[in-house]
């Protein structure tokens, strides 16, 4: 028996040991040093990785959960969560898609993600994540030809420790806020992308996330590095099945763009938002941050947020390199009892840096939507520019739409412009559409899609179609 199996044996005796009945390996409930060691051990991590985790855990003990956000939620008992769960069939890794657990594939199909088909037809390499461990990675050959590394985080730790060591935690340090630090301590898996110097990634890289086992907080960790003069477009899409209990998802996503590199990160998020009465649903407390480290680098975030009971995230850009560019395009739709507090941070440090923020918020039903953003122009960021536009659309009388921008200008050479509007769908527009034969729901879908057009345009083709449908579906039942 190797040490890992011994560990598993030991934990089986533990009172809250494994629940193997659903074909899942779980670490015992609760958060402590042993659980972190267990996670590290089961993933066969080197010592430096374990040290990283433990250091983060030490720091976590000193931190308090933030509570300044608009959507309040019942207190989370961090000792009542499972911090590790993996599909059992993972232990003998499948070599190809055909070897996958048929039950797993079935679930994907139900979610409308025909894995093989999508991979073949769209030319997308899919690194599907079931719970916390990567299950399949396709199109590896094509990528390897270009020297691109696209694999799971655990694999990267094993095979490319020098890259992981160099960049992990440089954008989101372990001393960051509560949820980011929690992630640093207990993260299970995620994606790792490295684009070598001068390479333009030939395809859109994509990961579909899925949350399965109940009461499992998902702690993904994604790291994307674009070396000098490279380009990559990364897609992240999420769906989750019905679930009664609230689930926590605290992922960390770090992007690093070196000189002349460009990273485009697109998200479509459609996790279970809870039922019509606001029961259940996922807590989406994700930390996403990009560092434009080199000159002329560019990071662009595009997000379509339609799911989750609570969305609380601010994909940010630190514009450190001179002439670097940060962009943020967002659509956030809340319906029923959903709540969202989202936006971005643009931190201008280098000269001639530019940022652009386009945010569209739509709230319906009893939901609450907040745009919260920061534009901070440092005194050294000469000749910087920012343009922010945030528009909100309200549907019905029980929802709320809020805008909380923070603007800090410490540089007299720089220009910051911000505008925001709040309105509703005009009766004239609705009337016009209905006159031409659309039913009210279709009319609203059409108008909302028009309202979001600026952002939808930014999405890659494959996503744009899906996102447009999603916008319509999310607002079902909100008219009348």
């Amino acid at each position: 028996m190797d040490t890992r199996e011994k560990d598993i044996e030991k934990l089986k005796d533990y009172k809250y040991g494994f629940t193997t009945d659903i074909e899942n390996i779980k670490a015992p409930k609760g958060l402590n040093e042993d659980v972190i060691k267990f996670i590290s051990n089961i993933k066969e991590e080197p010592q430096w990785m374990l040290d990283f985790r433990l250091k983060a855990y030490e720091r976590l003990k000193l931190l308090k959960e933030p509570n300044w956000q608009k959507p309040k939620y019942p207190k989370i008992d961090y000792q009542d969560l499972y911090y590790y769960s993996a599909p059992k069939s993972m232990n003998d890794k499948p070599k190809s898609l055909d070897e996958l657990d048929p039950k797993l594939l079935e679930t994907y199909k139900k979610l409308g993600i025909p894995l093989q088909e999508q991979a073949r037809l769209n030319g997308i390499a899919v690194d599907a994540v079931f719970d916390s461990v990567s299950v399949a990675t396709t199109f590896k050959g094509e990528l390897t030809k270009h020297g691109i590394i696209f694999c799971s985080m655990s694999e990267a730790i094993q095979k490319h420790p020098e890259l992981v060591k160099k960049y992990l935690g440089t954008v989101i340090p372990i001393t960051d806020h509560f949820f980011a630090t929690l992630n640093s301590a207990v993260f299970t898996d995620g994606s790792f992308v490295y684009i070598p110097e001068g390479v333009k990634c030939p395809m859109e890289l994509s990961t579909y996330f899925r949350i399965n086992a109940s009461q499992t907080g998902q702690f993904e960790r994604t790291l994307i590095i674009a070396d000098k003069g490279s380009y990559v477009s990364y897609l992240e899409g999420c769906t989750a099945p019905m679930r009664d209990e609230n689930q926590l998802h605290a992922a960390n996503v770090e992007l690093v763009a070196l000189d002349n590199a460009e990273i485009k990160y697109s998200t479509v998020q459609n996790w279970y938002p809870g039922d019509e009465n606001g029961k259940g649903g996922i807590y989406n407390f994700v930390t996403k941050r990009g560092l434009c480290k080199g000159k002329n680098s560019k990071i662009s975030w595009t997000q379509v947020e339609t799911g989750s009971a609570i969305t609380w995230k601010y994909p940010s850009c630190i514009l450190k390199g001179d002439n670097s560019i940060g962009e943020f395009y967002s659509i956030a739709i809340t319906n029923n009892h959903q709540k969202a507090d989202t936006g971005t941070k643009m931190i201008h440090l280098g000269k001639n840096t530019k940022s652009k923020i386009i945010s569209k918020g739509i709230s319906a039903g009893f939901s609450d939507m907040t745009y919260r953003g920061l534009v901070d122009v440092n005194s050294k960021a000469k000749n910087s520019n920012n343009y922010t536009q945030c528009d909100s659309l309200l549907m019905g009388n029980n929802c709320g739409a809020h805008t909380v921008p923070y603007i800090k200008n410490k540089n007299f050479d720089s220009n910051i412009a911000h505008e925001a509007t709040t309105s509703k769908i005009s009766e004239e527009q609705l009337h016009y559409c209905q006159q031409r034969g659309l039913n009210p729901e279709e009319a609203v879908g059409l108008i909302v899609n028009g309202f979001c057009k600026e952002v939808l345009q930014q999405l890659p083709m494959e996503f744009a179609v899906e996102a447009q449908k999603l916008v319509g579906i999310s607002l079902e039942g909100s008219v009348g």
């Binding site: 909100s392 009388n397 925001a420």
Partner: protein
């Protein structure tokens, strides 16, 4: 600091005639203030300019004791010339003169008021401080259908007898139906450093009009905090104009509750700052019922080492359909050491509303300067002309012609 607060408080209670009931109320406010202390950057509303730090840095040890038994001589040279007006002179923390000689005495009532218990709940420790230490609560009542013939100027002055002190002023105004008041707050020069804490409370009944002009133009070293609470009944109008450029620190806070239909609130402000000044305007407009309107325009011009902040909040209740809310803040940064912060916030719970805000900041437009210089102006003049034009925009929003002229004269703006 807490021991000093307590001992200064006891000294004031001993030297002035205050009823037992009032003493216990004041004690409660003091207790609340001691619990919370001066607000600091951890409080969301004080994020940009930290008053607790600023007091420490500028004044150091603040004394809260003020001997109200002394009488101070009013220096008539501080009065504004060329404009007939009513006066209230507020000198060294004490009201020394009240003069309403231009008005019909039957239409105005000025009474000393007894502080009521929990009438305000702003969760603002500076208001607790004010209520604990303020000398008298004066209430000015303007009766039904009466418009004051002349504006009322409140002189805020401090002579050199007082230094490093906390000075509190509290005034209540009630404007009965269809009445009108033009109120000018005039801050005079002073080289001593004191912390002035002003709390005004306005109750605007149906159809009444309040125009409040706060003029802090002359360079002084005081730190000033001013809070205006305005409750508005239907069809009432409030107009607040802030000229903020004299004191070392000045924070103007305006809270306006639009409680009656067709009521409206206007806030216009100029922050023109130089060396080491730190000024802020924070406004909260609560649209509580249908068909209310608010408009805000704030412009800053920031010189060397200066810092300005604007926090504007528009809240729209779910009942407040057909709300019209607008916020615009603009800033010109003249020096690489100047800093501008803004937080224009919208919180909206009703769908049939028109709310928007805009914020822009940057340097003077080089092309415009070039244009003016090519027509014979030197660089300095071109710059001044552009800044004047930028600020004149706000002054033009003033609806009262008499006061508009007064302010233009004070600021030195020419059309």
């Amino acid at each position: 600091m807490n021991e000093q607060l307590q001992s200064d408080f006891d000294k004031i209670i001993n030297t002035s005639k205050v009823s037992k009931k009032e003493v216990s109320l004041k004690k409660a406010f003091l207790k609340k203030f001691i619990e919370n202390g001066f607000p600091n950057r951890k409080h969301e509303d004080w994020k940009f300019l930290d008053i607790s730090q600023i007091i420490k840095k500028n004044i150091g040890n603040l004394s809260f004791f003020n001997d109200y038994s002394l009488t101070n001589k009013v220096d008539p040279t501080i009065f504004v010339n060329g404009l007939e007006h009513n006066k209230i002179v507020f000198l060294n923390g004490k009201i020394e003169k009240i003069d309403f000689s231009y008005e019909d005495q039957n239409k105005i009532e000025i009474n000393e008021e007894i502080e009521k218990d929990n009438t305000f709940d702003f969760k603002n420790s500076l208001i607790d401080l004010n209520r604990a230490f303020t000398n008298k609560v004066l209430k000015v009542l303007i009766k039904k259908n009466y418009s004051l013939k002349k504006p009322l100027i409140i002189y805020h002055s401090i002579n050199d007898k007082i230094n490093s002190k906390n000075i509190n002023l509290r005034l209540d105004f009630e404007l009965e139906q269809n009445s009108c008041l033009r109120l000018v707050d005039f801050f005079s020069k002073s080289t001593n450093k004191n912390f002035v804490n002003i709390f005004y409370n306005f109750d605007l009944k149906k159809d009444s009009i309040l125009k409040n002009y706060k003029l802090d133009k002359f360079r002084n070293n005081n730190l000033v905090y001013s809070f205006n609470n305005i409750e508005q009944d239907s069809n009432s109008v409030s107009e607040t104009f802030v000229l903020s450029s004299g004191s070392d620190y000045f924070k103007n806070e305006i809270n306006s509750d639009l409680k009656g239909e067709y009521s409206s609130a206007f806030i216009n402000g100029i922050l023109s700052l130089k060396e080491n000044q730190q000024h802020e305007i924070r406004s909260t407009i609560n649209h509580l019922v249908e068909n209310t309107k608010s408009y805000q325009l704030i412009k800053s011009v920031l010189g060397k080492n200066s810092k300005s902040a604007y926090q504007g909040r528009i809240f729209v209740n779910s009942k407040a359909q057909k709300t019209d809310g607008y916020q615009l803040s603009k800033a010109i940064l003249l020096d690489e050491t100047s800093e501008f912060n803004a937080k224009p916030e919208l919180e909206i719970y009703a769908d049939d509303v028109k709310c928007s805000h805009g914020s822009a900041s940057g340097s003077l437009n080089e092309n415009s300067i070039f244009y003016l210089m090519s027509r014979g102006l030197n660089y300095q003049h071109a710059k001044e002309l552009l800044i004047n034009g930028f600020l004149l925009d706000v002054v033009e929003k003033i609806t009262d012609p008499e006061i508009k002229i007064l302010i233009k004269n004070i600021v030195g703006l020419k059309e």
